[in-house]
């Protein structure tokens, strides 16, 4: 688990109320640099979401570590995206497959945002990251 992620966990877990939690999530989202507009193409869109989520990912050639960048047009989803990025960025494929985003979101009390019903793109993103890592390992 990266340091970034640990500090993210702390702020969110220390939230006194659900309002506070959402506030922290949205603040987190603000720390995420906006994607340049030219990168916000339809191809980069995670499909089937009410909110727009753009994402790019790869394992860098030299170190084989995950690089994910992304953006969203909603504040809450962007904050959740920041959590995912903090969770997985910089990890090797082996490390990625060993991290279960569902467990982490459960701990943070955010599990419903990873549910089938949300359709916010976060779930689709996690699945895309996991399957890319799994492919790397095969």
């Amino acid at each position: 688990m990266t340091n970034t992620f640990n500090s993210v966990i702390k702020t969110i877990q220390h939230a006194q109320s659900w309002q506070q939690k959402y506030r922290e999530i949205m603040l987190l989202g603000k720390t995420l640099p906006a994607l340049a507009d030219v990168l916000k193409t339809d191809d980069a869109l995670v499909p089937g979401c009410e909110s727009k989520v753009w994402m790019f990912m790869e394992f860098d050639d030299s170190e084989n570590r995950l690089v994910v960048i992304g953006d969203s047009d909603t504040r809450i989803v962007k904050g959740l995206l920041a959590i995912i990025l903090a969770l997985y960025n910089g990890l090797t494929p082996e490390e990625v497959v060993n991290i279960n985003a569902y467990d982490e979101f459960e701990k943070l009390g955010l599990i419903k945002h990873l549910s089938a019903s949300r359709g916010n793109g976060i779930k689709a993103m996690v699945e895309a990251i996991q399957s890319m890592a799994a492919n790397k390992l095969n």
Binding site: W18, Q19, Y22, M26, E50, S51, D73, T74, R75
Partner: protein, 408 residues
């Protein structure tokens, strides 16, 4: 005072779902445009059916099957009475969407590449896509009635358009699901009839709030969904003027709708049977029967006056909030407020409102062309029904202000 003659306390108690708390807050259900809540009598009717009469309909010579069939057919008569039409003019479907598909398919043989099908820019996708498919398959023209910038119809302009277009079919909703705007149908139907245009009315939003007298309204076809009028999910219907209905090409084929089947060839029964193949949603239809009983027992004038009162109250309160843009027509409305706050994403607002126990909808509401017309990608939609209270409105406005604070 309307709220005195209309016994809202009693009504609230009839709807078990409404009496719950979410996250410590009382549930404020403002999503009746998506689906209505169900009174206890509807839930009980379904349970009673499964407990006592569960059997397939129409085919059985035994007591259970007879009970089921009697109740199933009684429901048809009931909804026909509700709309002031004949029982054999009602076809059961699984919902408004299926009814529209049945219609678009059923008219296929009557439409050529020289014909025009007329829709409007504020239709639900269910009243757009089937007509796109129909016009693609037949080479007919899909044409669009003009809508003013504020998403209301200029009746004179529309009459003119209808008169000149001489379309084969006009497909138009009685009320917009996104905005709640009520369409002034009477003059449009008259104009359409004058040039021989068939009129299909999407009543998904109007059927409960406006309780239309279809014979008087004069449309040729009308579709509705039970789940938006206190009834169970998986039930809806199509009304059609009998000769027109019977002239439609059958949609789904199989058992029950046939007269004779040989391996080479089948012959079909008359409407409504020829459109009702397979085992229907028997429990759903019987539950819907109880929903119609419930609605029919309410005085429609009182109900509408009450709905208008809380709608006006909500609209006034909402308008007072700085930064809110309301897209709904506040003068002709079934009780739906579509709005945005500054440039905030509807998703964020809806998520935060949910934290306060307030259930609203966000997004394009299956009306992407209307969103395009309004120049937005989505809205927040609060849709009211007669079981909502002034307290609901207060809670909603309070929660909205708090949510805005969180965002600002």
């Amino acid at each position: 005072m309307p709220s005195q003659e209309f016994d809202i306390t009693k009504i609230r108690n009839d709807f078990p779902t409404l009496n719950q708390t979410l996250n410590g807050n009382p549930l404020v259900y403002l999503d009746s445009g998506a689906t209505s809540q169900k009174p206890q009598s509807v839930i009980d009717a379904t349970t009673r059916f499964y407990n006592l009469s569960n059997a397939n309909v129409h085919r059985g010579r035994h007591t259970l099957s007879e009970r089921a069939t009697e109740q199933y057919e009684a429901a048809r008569l009931k909804i026909a009475d509700y709309f002031n039409v004949k029982a054999n003019e009602i076809v059961w479907t699984k919902g408004a969407t299926e009814a529209l598909n049945l219609l678009a398919h059923g008219l296929q043989n009557q439409i050529t590449h020289e014909d025009t099908v007329l829709i409007t820019p504020l239709e639900h996708h269910a009243n757009i896509v089937p007509w796109q498919v129909l016009t693609q398959n037949t080479g007919a023209t899909l044409s669009v009635l003009p809508l003013e910038q504020n998403a209301t119809f200029n009746i004179a302009r529309c009459i003119d358009f209808i008169t000149h277009t001489k379309a084969k079919v006009l497909c138009i909703s009685q009320a917009s699901n996104t905005l709640g705007n009520i369409t002034n149908l009477a003059p449009l139907i008259a104009a359409a009839k004058a040039v021989g245009t068939l009129v299909v009315v999407d009543g998904a939003q109007g059927a409960m709030h406006l309780r239309p007298n279809l014979k008087q309204l004069g449309c040729d076809f009308y579709v509705f969904s039970a789940h938006k009028m206190l009834g169970p999910t998986g039930v809806g219907g199509l009304y059609g003027r009998y000769e027109l209905l019977n002239a439609l090409t059958p949609y789904q084929t199989g058992g029950e709708m046939i007269d004779t089947v040989t391996l080479e060839k089948s012959t079909y029964r008359d409407a409504p049977a020829k459109f009702e193949t397979g085992t229907p949603n028997i429990a759903g239809v019987i539950g819907f029967s109880a929903a119609i009983d419930y609605l029919s027992a309410l005085n429609i004038q009182q109900l509408q006056r009450y709905e208008q009162t809380i709608f006006n109250y909500a609209a006034t309160q909402l308008s007072k909030i700085d930064g809110v843009t309301i897209y709904s027509d506040l003068n002709n409305n079934i009780g739906t407020l579509s709005f945005n706050y500054k440039t905030e994403h509807p998703y964020d607002l809806a998520t935060l409102l949910d934290g306060f126990g307030v259930a609203v909808r966000s997004g394009h509401h299956c009306t992407q062309p209307l969103m395009h017309h309004l120049g937005v990608t989505g809205t927040v939609r609060a849709s009211l029904a007669f079981y909502n209270t002034h307290q609901d409105v207060d809670n909603f406005i309070h929660a909205l202000k708090e949510s805005i604070d969180l965002l600002d």
